[in-house]
């Protein structure tokens, strides 16, 4: 046999050198795995060839060029005899070879990067067969748009050999025999099979596959077909989430599924640095009762948060908040026990599983994304008086009436004319606009990926600025990531390294409310344009002054409040197919985060204005805090996927280990010489009795679980999960906790009687139940610990005292969930209706138990407290129109949740006394008079508003009439009469909207609504009824108040200066309709993008929180205003 080299020997030596180098390089990579990511894919292993009437020789040259593989063949092989048509795009090498050689009676072997070409042994038989080959031509078009589909893979079903691909115009030319079944596959479309009858040109219409990711559920440990899963989960793709809100991932998940509920924080508004508090399917945590009194509108407890799982390891909410939405492949929200039980002790509040994009093979691709985000403050809820009106109001409120104020009339007259001079002089400052701005944030993100099937890599980088609407506030992020995958036949290996730096700065302008209350007749600056520190001083009866400080003066000082963190996460995973159907996967992730927190208050700040002379060197303050966090999370899991007859098994067994260490220290220094020295080194010393603090927390978790998913003939479905968790947080006596779930389902549509039913295309009934847990408490509660008294030594040495009564029996909070659901799809899946009902019963909630003080402890922790959440969810999707040019899809999703406290501890009952006490104190004294506080009573919702029932204002005397507990009426407010007066839980809340497409234009809208709840309108109380006339107030202050006998009014006697306490008069129905998202997008036809050397180019414009209709007129965003935003985005692929 004469072997012929196709290429000259010199070249081949070079190749050998290259190969050697590559082997060395590969070794280096393997050595550096986990620490360094190197890209070594200089040649890809897939080929793209497009030639007509060509010879094999040319094709081989192409392949060599693209892959670097060498060809060997002997003289018998005729390379130029036959012509052939090749139309391949990004096809793996082996398939390309098969496609080319199949028609030529040739076969091949690959030996160490060399392709050996031989004739097929029985050439005569093959020749006979060749006669019957037909050349089949045709065109593939998209059924929806009638556009040709390029790049569709065409194979013959019997041997799965790839025969070709469609070209740019969707045309194809393949050879096949009569009776062969051609299989057309393309990503995003349903696979289509066509039997070859003759060689007439055929037209193949491909139907789009609606949302491929919709058909599987990613639980983080397992990927299960939705068809066979009984758990309740909702999957969203990264693109869908980006559509909802490109700036805030958590908000867009909430908009997608209303059962993922972000608590409204009326104080923090749209502060970009405030991470929202979240619950899934209602609250299941009670405050433990040792904290301070909680305001209703500022509930920021973290105890309700779902668990966040990113690519298989647990992260905190902050990580998700700061995640780049472009990196997200999909987000799955697991809601019921069947879906979450595999997370055991972390599962009770739902689990959010996020998977990031893995690099895709192919030539080097670059995706660039730019977003310009313009935000502006939404001040439409603030209606304050202008200078003239304010003067008018001050007169009406008898502010300058000597008799009423018990002050000298001369002084008051002088004051009046002084202020009036300002009004006449044209001073009419709109203070509200001073601290706010229209801010523009930028986001650049670049994603580079490519590689072969064996080795793939991805690099992504992001730079994002997120300025807030209050001047000076921002949250800027830089992040970068490197990702590589090594994929051998039975072994897969992936490493992902991400680095992030986040810099958050709070606005130096302070609380927004300080601007709202400033009188419009105050000038901001003096005649020279400098900010004045003291704008006004109201004299009190005792001749001392109430100073009015200019908040703008403090804002221009060098004070700052910033916190940064940098984070490194490395996530390493390996998968091995140890036997057929068995896969072993190990994963290890390490997170290291370091925070710094710096707050400086300038010595010129107004809060030091009244410092006595001996405290003059104590002005100015610097707080410096550092925290380091190290987490690691590892798991090993074994999956078994097997089909045995009609039975299909998907079983996973796993072991999960977690460790968490938090180490922090902070100190405060005081005494700064001047505004210029902002470094801590300029401080005089520690604050009096101040000393450095430190905190160290460590906790560990060990869990093992087994979860099985079984379906029989795709009709009957069963899921079962069992997990055993051990946590260092549990009591010494209860180190291990079992959790479980079970679910059953029935695919009715697979039954004979519903097969091919014209109306019902899918009907699935599911039921599940299970027990999951939550361990959101600090790590050492179960032990008796001693605390050192480092600040106070006794004369005979340092002392230590017992800190707490350690409850050794402390256990985890248990949530029992029951869930029923129906998946119904009608008219070929055009209409989907998915109703669900659930009951979530949480028991053993951790609570403080008050003890008799003679035990030496005031309270201890015990598992006591039961809560119930019942609710229903409904999702509807309608594909109303779907033609080539138009499509219209409508979505609606509604949730109704009823919360009920069933049992609470005595500490929470005692908490009422504390709440009562705080409600009797005015805000100036640090109390919460007139502000409804959170209270807890059995049988009520955790959100219930409590106050004294009011019958309104008595027209006779202008006093408010209250109803006492025994039903009698009284004018006297008594805190013992406090009862539930309103329930803020809406009857239903949800989102609805639609997506409309015209050719390449797409319009997407989403509304959010809730109705049927009630709320306490604080603005009416604080800014109208109890308004302090010395400061600016709400415009409605002119609305009628009671003046004389017979007046029927909503507001009390105008001359009553007492503070109105919490009562039912201010309870109002709370209904809302908010146009949350409007997005218009356009993507450029590939015809044009190609000219720009781009693969795609898309433009989007998204407006968030556009219009808002509410039944309540209330000031929103007390400390920080709410914002509206528009985002412009460009996405380009190269």
């Amino acid at each position: 046999m004469k072997l012929t080299f196709l290429y000259n020997p010199v070249f081949s030596i070079q190749r050998v050198k290259c190969k050697l180098l590559r082997v060395m390089k590969l070794t280096a990579i393997l050595l550096l795995i986990g620490t360094l990511h190197l890209s070594a894919a200089s040649y890809s292993q897939s080929v793209s060839i497009s030639r007509k009437n060509t010879t094999l020789e040319t094709v081989f040259k192409d392949i060599k060029k693209q892959t670097g593989y060498l060809f060997f063949y002997n003289g018998k092989v005729n390379l130029t005899g036959q012509t052939l048509n090749v139309e391949l795009k990004n096809v793996p090498l082996e398939e390309a070879l098969k496609a080319c050689l199949a028609q030529q009676n040739l076969t091949y072997n690959i030996v160490d990067k060399t392709i050996v070409i031989r004739k097929l042994p029985s050439s005569s038989a093959m020749d006979d067969n060749a006669v019957r080959y037909l050349e089949i031509t045709g065109k593939v078009i998209d059924n929806d748009t009638d556009q040709p589909v390029p790049g569709v893979n065409i194979a013959i079903k019997s041997d799965k050999l790839l025969r070709g691909q469609t070209n740019q115009n969707g045309e194809f030319r393949v050879t096949a025999q009569v009776g062969d079944i051609l299989v057309f596959t393309y990503i995003g479309f349903k696979t289509k099979e066509v039997t070859v009858v003759d060689n007439k040109p055929m037209v193949v219409r491909l139907e789009t596959e609606v949302n491929t990711i919709d058909n599987v559920v990613v639980t983080g440990y397992q990927t299960i077909k939705k068809e066979s899963f009984t758990g309740n989960a909702i999957t969203m793709t990264g693109a869908e989430l980006k559509k909802m809100n490109p700036q805030n991932l958590l908000a867009s998940i909430g908009a997608y599924d209303p059962s993922f509920r972000l608590a409204q924080n009326n104080l923090a508004g749209s502060n970009p640095n405030r991470i929202p508090s979240i619950n899934v399917r209602g609250s299941s945590a009670l405050p433990s009762g040792d904290g301070e009194v909680l305001r209703r509108d500022n509930f920021t407890s973290g105890a309700n948060m779902p668990a966040f799982i990113l690519d298989g390891y647990e992260v905190n909410v902050q990580k998700v908040f700061d995640l780049d939405v472009n990196r997200i492949e999909s987000v799955t929200l697991l809601k019921d026990a069947a879906a979450t039980a595999i997370y055991g002790s972390r599962a009770a509040n739902g689990v959010l599983v996020i998977t990031t994009r893995a690099p895709k093979p192919g030539k080097l691709r670059v995706d660039y994304n730019y977003e310009l985000n313009v935000t502006g403050a939404d001040l439409s809820d603030y209606q304050v008086l202008d200078a003239k009106e304010k003067m008018e109001y001050e007169l009406l409120a008898l502010l300058y009436d000597g008799g009423k104020q018990q002050m000298s009339q001369d002084y008051l007259n002088e004051l009046y004319y002084h202020n009036y001079a300002n009004v006449v002089g044209g001073v009419n400052t709109y203070w509200l606009s001073q601290p706010v701005r229209t801010a523009a944030g930028n986001k650049h993100s670049v994603n580079v990926e490519g590689g072969s099937e064996v080795f793939r890599y991805g690099v992504d980088m992001r730079y994002q600025t997120r300025p807030g609407v209050m001047k000076g506030s921002s949250r800027d992020q830089f992040s970068g990531g490197m990702n590589f995958m090594y994929n051998l036949k039975k072994f897969q290996f992936r490493n992902e390294l991400t680095v992030m730096q986040m810099n958050a700065i709070e606005s130096p302008f302070g609380d927004f409310k300080n601007y709202v209350r400033m009188n419009p007749y105050y000038p901001m600056t003096d005649a020279n344009g400098r900010y004045v520190q003291i704008i006004d001083a109201w004299q009190k009866r005792d001749r001392s002054y109430d100073y009015v400080f200019n908040p703008l003066y403090d804002a221009q000082l060098s004070s700052f409040n910033k916190n940064d963190y940098s984070e490194i996460i490395d996530n390493l995973s390996a998968e091995l197919e140890i036997a057929k159907d068995f896969k072993l996967r190990a994963q290890m992730s390490l997170t290291s985060r370091s925070f710094t927190d710096d707050r400086f208050t300038s010595p010129n700040n107004s809060k030091y204005y009244e410092y006595a002379t001996d405290e003059i060197d104590e002005k100015g303050e610097y707080y410096s805090g550092q925290r380091k966090e190290t987490f690691w999370d590892g798991n090993i899991r074994m999956t078994w996927l097997k089909q045995l007859g009609g039975s299909f098994f998907n079983v996973v067994g796993l072991i999960n280990v977690q460790s968490e260490i938090k180490n922090g220290q902070d100190f405060t220094a005081i005494g700064f010489a001047n505004d210029r020295f902002t470094s801590i080194g300029f401080a005089k010393g520690y604050a009096e009795e101040g000393k450095p603090n430190s905190k160290f927390e460590q906790s560990r978790l060990f869990g093992s679980a087994i979860s099985a998913n079984y379906s029989f003939k795709n009709r009957y479905l069963v899921d079962a999960t069992f997990r055993m968790d051990g946590s260092s947080k549990f009591g010494v006596e209860n180190k291990f906790a079992p959790f479980w779930s079970a679910g059953i389902g029935w695919n009715v549509h697979s039954e004979e009687f519903l097969k091919d039913n014209r109306i019902i295309s899918q009907l699935r009934l599911k039921a599940s139940t299970g027990l999951t847990g939550s361990v959101e408490f600090s790590p050492y509660l179960s032990r008796t610990t001693y605390r050192y008294n480092t600040g106070n030594w006794y004369s005979t040495g340092i002392g230590t005292v017992v800190n707490n009564y350690g409850n050794q029996n402390l256990s985890w909070q248990k949530t029992r969930m029951v869930d029923f659901s129906i998946d119904l799809a009608l008219f070929k899946d055009k209409l989907k209706i998915e109703p669900r009902v659930y009951r979530k019963f949480t028991k053993d909630i951790l609570a403080n138990i008050t003890l008799a003080p003679s035990t030496g402890f005031l309270s201890y922790k015990e598992n006591l407290g039961d809560m119930e959440n019942k609710g229903a969810e409904l999702r509807i999707q309608l594909e109303a129109v779907s033609t080539k040019d138009y499509s219209l899809i409508l979505n609606a999703s509604f949730v109704s949740n009823r919360n009920k406290i069933l049992r609470i501890s005595n500490a929470l009952k005692k908490y009422e006394d504390l709440a009562n006490e705080q409600q009797s104190e005015t805000e100036a004294d640090g109390g919460y008079r007139g502000i409804p506080l959170l209270r807890y009573r059995e049988g009520q919702s955790i959100n219930t508003i409590y106050g004294v029932p009011s019958l309104g204002i008595d027209p006779e005397n202008g006093r408010e009439l209250y109803r006492k507990l025994d039903g009698t009426l009284t004018y006297d407010y008594d805190k013992r009469d406090i009862v539930p007066i309103g329930n803020p839980d809406p009857k239903a809340e949800g989102s609805f909207g639609g997506s409309f497409r015209y050719k390449r234009w797409n319009l997407f809208t989403n509304f959010r609504t809730y109705f049927g709840g009630e709320t306490y309108n604080l603005t009416l109380v604080q800014r109208i009824e109890n308004a302090d006339p010395r400061y600016n107030v709400d415009r409605r202050v002119f609305e009628s108040k009671w003046k004389q006998s017979g007046d029927h009014t909503f507001y009390k006697n105008i001359s009553d200066i007492g503070e109105t306490e919490v009562n039912s008069r201010f309870i109002q129905a709370d209904n809302l309709l908010n146009l949350e998202t409007v997005q218009l997008s356009f993507d450029l036809d590939q015809k044009y993008t190609r000219r720009l050397w781009m693969t795609n180019l898309a433009f989007t414009m998204t407006a968030n929180d556009v219009v808002r209709w509410s039944s309540i007129k209330e000031e929103r965003g007390i400390d920080y205003p709410f914002a509206r935003s528009i985002t412009f985005g460009i996405r380009a692929g190269f």
Partner: protein
């Protein structure tokens, strides 16, 4: 597949057994109980911790020394009421501030008692970690402190032994538990007290304070022939008088026996302190020194036991005993009455140096300067002594002795009284009188001596005598006054 399952099972069992240990995470910034009590130092720190907790503002650092009981004993004038004790002095037991203070006393003392109980629960188990006399010291002090604090609780919250020995007293807590200890009767509590104190006395027989080498003196004096209180190389064994030493236990026993009206035993214990000659009377030079830094206002060497409270210095100076009438003070008439200015008092150095005449625009009054520190130097050398809250004084031992002796030997009883008076520069000798006269004199002496030290109220209660007002008016004795109501939490959550 079977092999895999088997390997998996073996792995799992192995992991589970080893990870129980792994899950046992020890806190770092706090220390777990078993870890603390694994060393001798840990026990010492736990003992120091009890004193540390007791010397806080809510307990002996202020409230139990010169707060509530002094207001109840009518030892302060309340015109401006800057310290919010007026309602307390009017025995308005529903007043919020009074309730808050009283509840803090109750919770704080029982909180300290738990610390004693935790030491006692561990001390015998870990006897092996101790060296020298430390085991006896640790256990003895824990027992004695437990009794000392229970005794103060009994004297505040239960009827006196004299009128209600069988009445419900207080819970005598001896265990570390979250379950409320049942109530004991007053006599039951007294028996427990005596049992604990006698046991402590036996253990503390090895107390270094009893050794002849232990000389009581001022810490600012470096001459070791005059003071050896800070000589021990072990910090834990220094300044025995700052802690529950052997004589402090004797003093407490004397108090308890007298409360029980067991005069014989009271006398034995009081005499044990007196006859030890450990505690010299304060010299006139020290008491009356002109230079503030050389002055001893608190009669430091006479303290059998006191609480070390330097952290209170700032509040004492700027808040509680601030100059003027916003702090705790005495109007002129009251001070003159208490110290009997018109008769023997004019020369009494206590009249001269415990209080100081001052005036503002509207009136003249006496500031209480017993705790005043040298204002120029605020360090340790500010005065001759540390800032202390006196707990047991030598003079009280004389008073107890006198009271115990009177029924049998009135002459010696009067001699005891006169001995204290002469140490205070009163040369007039009291002449023997009848029991009523004797008790009156004794009460007057006690009032002069322990002004702002929180002991007088207990004496009125023990004797069930009417409280003498600021200028002599008598407030009749009654359990309504003498028995402070239990905290409402105790009633509700303890099922009292």
């Amino acid at each position: 597949m079977n092999k895999i399952v088997l390997i998996g099972l073996i792995l799992c069992t192995g992991l589970f057994s080893s990870c129980k240990k792994w899950l046992d995470v020890q806190p770092e910034s706090e220390i777990a109980e078993p870890v603390l009590f694994s060393t001798e130092t840990g026990f010492m720190e736990a003992i120091n911790g009890i004193y540390n907790k007791a010397n806080t503002e809510g307990l002996y650092g202020k409230e139990l020394t010169f707060g509530t009981p002094e207001a109840l004993a009518q030892n302060y004038s309340m015109r401006d009421d800057g310290q919010d004790y007026r309602q307390t002095s009017l025995y308005n037991y529903q007043h919020t501030k009074f309730k808050e203070r009283k509840d803090t006393i109750w919770a704080g003392l029982y909180g300290s008692i738990v610390n004693c109980n935790l030491v006692l629960a561990n001390v015998d188990v870990r006897k092996d970690v101790f060296t020298g006399v430390n085991y006896e010291i640790v256990k003895g002090e824990a027992l004695a402190l437990r009794a000392y604090m229970h005794f103060d609780l009994l004297r505040l919250f239960a009827p006196s032994y004299l009128v209600g020995a069988t009445a419900q007293g207080i819970p005598y807590a001896t265990k570390y538990t979250k379950d409320a200890t049942p109530m004991s009767t007053v006599s039951g509590v007294v028996d427990s007290l005596i049992k604990d104190l006698e046991a402590a006395k036996k253990l503390l027989a090895v107390d270094p304070i009893r050794s002849a080498n232990y000389k009581v003196g001022y810490p600012t004096v470096k001459d070791t022939t005059k003071t050896t209180e800070e000589k021990s190389p072990l910090l834990f064994l220094q300044n025995r008088r700052h802690r529950m030493n052997y004589f402090a236990v004797c003093g407490t026993l004397a108090r308890v026996y007298l409360y029980k009206n067991d005069k014989a035993n009271a006398l034995i214990n009081a005499n044990e302190v007196i006859s030890s000659n450990k505690f010299p009377w304060t010299s006139k030079a020290d008491f009356e020194a002109f230079d503030e830094s050389k002055k001893d206002r608190i009669l430091y060497k006479e303290l059998v036991f006191g609480w070390y409270i330097p952290s209170m210095a700032k509040d004492i100076k700027e808040k509680w005993f601030q100059p003027g009438t916003s702090g705790l003070y005495l109007i002129t008439d009251a001070a003159d009455y208490i110290y009997e200015k018109l008769t023997a008092g004019a020369f009494d150095s206590r009249y001269k140096y415990f209080i100081s005449r001052s005036s503002n625009q509207s009136s003249a009054f006496y500031e209480i300067v017993k705790y005043r520190r040298n204002s120029i130097d605020e360090g340790v050398n500010a005065n001759l002594h540390y800032l202390m809250a006196p707990a047991i004084r030598l003079s009280e031992m004389y008073y107890i002795g006198a009271e115990a002796l009177f029924p049998t030997d009135p002459t010696r009883a009067y001699a005891y009284l006169n001995q204290v008076r002469s140490a205070r520069q009163i040369d007039d000798k009291l002449t023997v009188g009848n029991e009523e006269e004797f008790t009156k004199e004794l009460l007057k002496e006690m009032r002069k001596e322990t002004l702002a030290e929180g002991q007088l109220f207990y004496m009125y209660k023990r004797l069930n005598r009417g409280i003498v007002g600021q200028t002599g008016a008598i407030i009749p004795a009654s359990n309504k006054i003498f028995v402070l109501p239990l905290p409402s939490d105790e009633i509700v959550y303890g099922g009292r």
